[in-house]
């Protein structure tokens, strides 16, 4: 893969019947990453994925996959050939058995990996003769995942891969993703509203809210850079404005001023010291806290 970013979107907008599903969404997904695409239900995750796959056209903006515009018919066919996609519906043919579903799918993909098929048939313990419609939700997910993993794709796009799965099944799905990425050179882009699983297997994340990217970057950078700083004053906390970079939120309550910084604590604390606080506390901020701070509550 020569492109620095496997997926790159810029100012992506999409309107459905006058409703703005995406309002300027920008993403940069590096090759080889496991990229968590976090947002509440209805934030625009599925719409974004449809645009990336060329299944819908943006109202404006660009979406590049493998360096080619997914909005062009010819390019999108080529792009889809190199992508493994699992929709949130886990689209499968209910009247087929597991075995028929696999044997039906394989011939569509010239780079089908028979070795991986054998591996995942075993490790997922899929009942070969059972009808798809009789599969449990977990089994259904594993079958859809097998079909996506075996096609020799360079990019895996998963829409809410673990939704509706119990914790044990979720762990099993995450584990197979991690193992797959460790042995095959590929990029995984998965949408989720489960912060914990992005924390666990992701190395990059975008948090989107109401069709816009609100936070994006390498998870380790976010963990390094985000800090909550609490200043306590002898009297009422002053109504100060701060010039330090990365001051995201300032809350005053009585004698306490709480600040969320996205650029570490050093510069802010140096600036805040001029206000003579009686104590200064700095704490790490979790991804969950970043999510809750940046995503707007129910309107």
């Amino acid at each position: 893969m020569s492109e620095p970013f496997v997926i790159e979107t810029s100012e992506l907008r999409k309107q459905y019947d006058g409703v703005e599903a995406l309002r300027g969404l920008s993403l940069q997904v590096p090759a080889g990453s496991i990229y968590g695409f976090l947002g509440r239900n209805g934030a625009g995750k599925t719409t974004t994925i449809k645009l990336l796959l060329g299944m819908a056209r943006p109202t404006s903006g660009t979406a590049m996959v493998f360096g080619r515009p997914s909005t062009l018919e010819a390019a999108s066919v080529e792009i889809r050939r190199r992508i493994g996609f699992v929709s949130d519906q886990k689209d499968l043919y209910d009247y087929m058995t597991v075995d028929e579903m696999i044997r039906f799918t394989a011939p569509f993909f010239p780079r089908w990996r028979a070795d991986l098929e054998q591996r995942y048939r075993r490790s997922f313990e899929l009942p070969a003769d059972r009808k798809v419609k009789a599969l449990s939700r977990g089994m259904r997910t594993k079958l859809a995942l097998l079909l996506a993993l075996c096609r020799g794709a360079e990019l895996l796009i998963l829409d809410e891969p673990t939704s509706g799965l119990d914790p044990a099944m979720t762990e099993e799905v995450l584990q197979s993703l991690v193992a797959h990425v460790a042995s095959e050179e590929m990029t995984v882009f998965f949408s989720s509203h489960q912060i914990a699983e992005v924390d666990q297997i992701g190395d990059h994340v975008a948090i989107i809210d109401r069709g816009r990217t609100v936070v994006a970057g390498a998870l380790d950078d976010l963990r390094d850079q985000y800090r909550r700083i609490e200043l306590v004053f002898a009297g009422d906390a002053p109504e100060a404005t701060f010039r330090s970079p990365g001051v995201e939120r300032v809350r005053r309550k009585g004698r306490v001023l709480t600040v969320l910084s996205s650029a570490g604590s050093d510069r802010f604390v140096a600036e805040a010291r001029a206000l003579n606080p009686v104590s200064v506390d700095v704490a790490a901020v979790t991804l969950k806290e970043i999510f809750l701070e940046t995503v707007v509550g129910e309107a």
Binding site: L174, Q175, V178, A182, D224, D266, V269, V282, T286
Partner: protein
């Protein structure tokens, strides 16, 4: 060897892994020359991103704690530098343990202690007015 990073603690997972490997060396659970688990099996066992394991190993190599031998895997360094780092860390650990014990005796909670350390590392101890 016990490695158990907590993905949702807000601390980068590779840093947690690095600390835990060092701790295992300190306690003798990992000895000089011993092999560490491979990147893939460890990522799979802990269900974390393989890039994260690779990053932790690279940084540990950079610090001289482990050696990455091409094609063979990761091994605990047997050179003096790693041992010296271990000794320094062990001495530091004694100091920290003593400090934590004394703070607990005074009724400071673990969460408060954690914050005090974080604040001290961020260079805020000047406002606190205490020093050795």
């Amino acid at each position: 060897m016990l490695l158990r990073p907590n993905p949702s603690s807000g601390v980068p997972i590779y840093l947690q892994l690095m600390e835990q490997v060092k701790h295992n060396i300190e306690t003798g659970a990992l000895r000089p020359g011993e092999q560490l688990p491979g990147i893939r099996p460890l990522a799979e066992e802990l269900v974390i991103n393989p890039n994260t394991v690779a990053k932790a190993y690279r940084e540990l190599e950079h610090e001289g704690v482990i050696e990455l031998r091409h094609g063979a895997g990761a091994f605990v360094s047997s050179n003096g530098r790693a041992k010296k780092a271990t000794d320094t860390l062990r001495a530091g650990q004694t100091l920290v343990t003593a400090a934590v014990d004394r703070l607990r005796e005074r009724g400071v909670t673990d969460e408060e202690i954690r914050r005090l350390f974080e604040a001290a590392l961020a260079g805020l101890n000047k406002t606190g007015g205490h020093g050795e």
